[in-house]
Point group: C2
Chain length 362, copies 2
């Protein structure tokens, strides 16, 4: 999706991919096959680039440091990216900044978890310190046995208080090296089992004051953490206000609706930001937009059912990622736009479910 | 621009280009270098394709016939494309269909032109029978001397009556092999010296009845000429009604505004049509949109001034084509959207002129 945005801007865009079958490699005219964990591959790739940016947070710090030492413009910076690679570090940093986050503490044994449960009651939320992506790496444990299962995987985890939130929100902002910032409307994200299913833009019925708080928080965090590019902040809306759940410093699933739903898509915005170009208008193009993820079902052919969805709803926008279908995997998304949130949401949900599984539900 | 549309649709898209520096080759992950005038190159390219389509009308008929004989799905068909390759054939065919066109006749000598001028007075419009593109190949001759200059180039031409039109309009429609059709709002095109400078969507102040006639005409022509893909019909608005000036059976400059200004861009629509997928909604996304071409000036660096334009108008959309600048060449375009046509037009004109030449005009 960033490659498509680069075409219009006349940017020479290249991708480092592990495999020619990766989504970005399929559509980028200048793909280099290499390993993002190899400093040699990264340095060779970067030699022809003015700026390096990311669509995931897995490039390790030593390799990022090697790029910086070589004088490569790495945006966002390794120091900022570290907060998306180490969730405990992120929580500590946000704590220093006075930003409300769920209480968290490192656990190294089942006894530690049990001790927390004795204090707070079950459930206890366990999260991987690193490598979390899209909810994988987050486990809501309701018993000793569930916690023991998580710990058995030998992934460093920390425990987080279970927050009885009303709903989940996200705020997407962009920031350029010169400090120019832009914020998109606050959205509601509908998650199930830690996977984002839908994004409603703007968040229905959100109090103006909370929306303003979220925007202020997003812009403040981008500045305080020295983020360059887009920053997605996942939030819990609770009776006591907003809590920060997760950060991402790249185009994010919660912003896919901006491709058609905002004057500047998050992909164009990310490119403009990392190139230190003026940011584009983040204003909405329609009263409401709903993005629904196409989650792989048991049918491996998502293309076969596109025709029906397109015929049923000619105004629907479909985006497929060129990924092999696996159950639960995000293989594409749809976006519907319109005036009535309930109607728009019904269109998006129906289409996403039909493309994935061929089934209709009332 | 078609490559960008293909990304979202999950289509495997390949391009036959003469040179790796061509606009499409720069951004398409699967570019084959070859000659569109070579049947061997075309057949080798087509072997891996389900459907072949075009972004220009220069592939000669014998080579198109070779593709058809080999069982390749060529859309639009050679028979339809012929009408965009031979303007006299097009006028004859439209005449048979009862579609109003300017009167035309073949001329082979200056005496022929003089004879027409004696009947109708100057100017006499001379047009190349083939190879016209974007106004090049059209000469409004106001004297014997001007006509002699055109004839001296040894290009087969015909003479056309000079139509005293009020303005130029265009209607863009799409048609799929199954006969499904869709029409975009009628636009006004602002041409100078045979080059399109601006497109106003929808055409300001167009009478409902004329708009309906234009849409009906576009859809009828697409059907009667068996067009598959998008069809752009350039029209003269005269006191006596609409006259057809030119046809194009590919995404067309008069439809670039649809990238942001319509729910389905002409590029996505063309792909959907030639693949026989259901067509997308051609509805406008804003009350008005203005596209202004960035015409090369004497400054070869169009990128250097982008920043200023983006800073001055964050909601403006810019599209650069990756072409070397030559004076008068279309090297990109900008689109502004909004509610007030005069304000939107001023934004688009100002930005296009500034990117091209760095100058501001009142």
């Amino acid at each position: 999706m960033t490659a498509a945005a680069a075409i219009g801007l006349g940017i020479r865009f290249r991708v480092l991919a592990a495999d020619p079958d990766e989504s970005a490699a399929q559509v980028c005219a200048d793909t280099v096959i290499g390993d993002y964990r190899s400093s040699d591959d990264l340095l060779a790739f970067a030699a022809a680039c003015d700026v390096i940016t990311f669509d995931h947070e897995h490039v390790p710090q030593p390799q990022l440091a090697a790029l910086e030492r070589a004088g490569v413009a790495v945006r966002p910076s390794p120091a900022a990216l570290r907060l998306t690679q180490d969730k405990l570090a992120m929580r500590a940093r946000l704590g220093e900044l006075g930003v409300p986050v769920p209480r968290a503490e490192l656990v190294s044994s089942l006894a530690d978890v049990q001790e927390i449960a004795n204090r707070t009651g079950w459930p206890v939320v366990l999260k991987a310190v690193s490598g979390g992506y899209d909810g994988r790496g987050v486990w809501v444990c309701r018993s000793n046995a569930e916690a023991a299962d998580v710990l058995s995987h030998d992934v460093p985890v920390f425990a987080e208080e279970f927050v009885p939130f009303d709903r989940e929100l996200a705020i997407l902002v962009a920031r350029s090296p010169s400090g120019h910032g832009a914020a998109y409307p606050v959205v509601e994200t509908i998650q199930r089992d830690g996977i984002c299913h839908e994004v409603l833009a703007p968040a229905p019925g959100l109090a103006d004051q909370l929306a303003e708080s979220a925007i202020e928080l997003g812009l403040k965090l981008a500045g305080d953490l020295d983020v360059v590019g887009v920053l997605a902040v996942e939030l819990f809306e609770t009776r006591g206000g907003l809590l920060v759940n997760e950060l991402a410093m790249r185009p994010h699933n919660s912003g896919h609706w901006t491709i058609e739903g905002a004057r500047t898509s998050q992909f164009e915005q990310h490119l403009r930001a990392v190139l230190n170009w003026p940011l584009g208008a983040p204003t909405a193009t329609a009263p409401c937009a709903v993005m629904a993820n196409v989650l792989g079902g048991h049918d491996s052919d998502v293309h076969g059912k596109l025709n029906h969805v397109m015929a049923a709803d000619p105004a629907l926008k479909v985006q497929l990622y060129g990924k092999p279908v696996r159950p639960g995997r995000k293989v594409g998304h749809v976006t519907a736009l319109g005036e009535d949130i309930a109607a728009v949401r019904a269109r998006a949900r129906r289409a996403a479910r039909y493309i994935a599984a061929g089934t209709e539900e009332p």
